[in-house]
Symmetry: C2
Subunit: 103 residues, 2 copies
DNA sequence: TCTATCAAGGACAATATTTGTCCAAAGGTA
DNA sequence: TACCTTTGGACAAATATTGTCCTTGATAGA
């Protein structure tokens, strides 16, 4: 019953495979290059907002939720690549509150 | 007694002002353009790793801590500019654990 | 074996973003 | 006025990212 965690790309790959569709089939439908979709699934290229929208539509996902998956991915990769420690996120959270409070 | 939250730029501006130094004086010492330092303080330009190192050295700060301030800033700004909600950070945290666990 | 289809990934031109610098303007102070 | 400071615009140069095309290797079916 626990929710599985996976990256943005992994999630859409899983959806695609569950639907038994090839990269080409999906890419064609949403109007992007096959290779590009493959790269997005492997987190080798970042999807644009427009592409996220198209993917959400295709798989009937909530666009906002999918965007959240993408942004959280970006943050996760940043932390890992900078080898920053987890509490960096706590600091970020405080700063968000702070920045919001000062209009 | 509560620790104050401020952005990377604001923090170094405060340090500089407490030391009663002008942008020019500090910029000259660390070897960067005066205008650039001003922009960094206003979060108008992002400092490079090298610049963070020089700033930390100048103000006798721990370089790692200052880098954390910078990265948390970047994350905070991303969340704000995407208008993502706070729990995006929680999702990111789970993904970090997940990505770390898969080597 | 031959033929298709698929996914992975390299290369690269086209684009987009970011940087650092120079300059001018505005404000303050003596 | 003269000087010093900060702000911010403009912009070329440097960097990073995108989307596309193409090759390779794997798998499967006839």
């Amino acid at each position: 019953m626990s929710k599985t965690v996976a990256t943005f790309g992994e999630q859409i790959r899983i959806l695609r495979e569950e639907a038994r569709l090839s990269l080409r089939e999906v890419a064609e439908q949403i109007g992007i290059d096959t290779s590009l979709l493959g790269k997005i699934e492997r987190n080798d290229r970042q999807p644009t907002k427009e592409q996220i929208k198209l993917i959400a539509k295709f798989f009937k996902l909530d666009e906002k939720e999918l965007l959240k998956e993408f942004i959280s991915d970006q943050i996760a990769y940043k932390i890992l690549e900078e080898e920053a420690d987890l509490d960096t996120l706590k600091v970020a959270e405080m700063k968000i509150e702070y920045l919001k409070s000062k209009k």
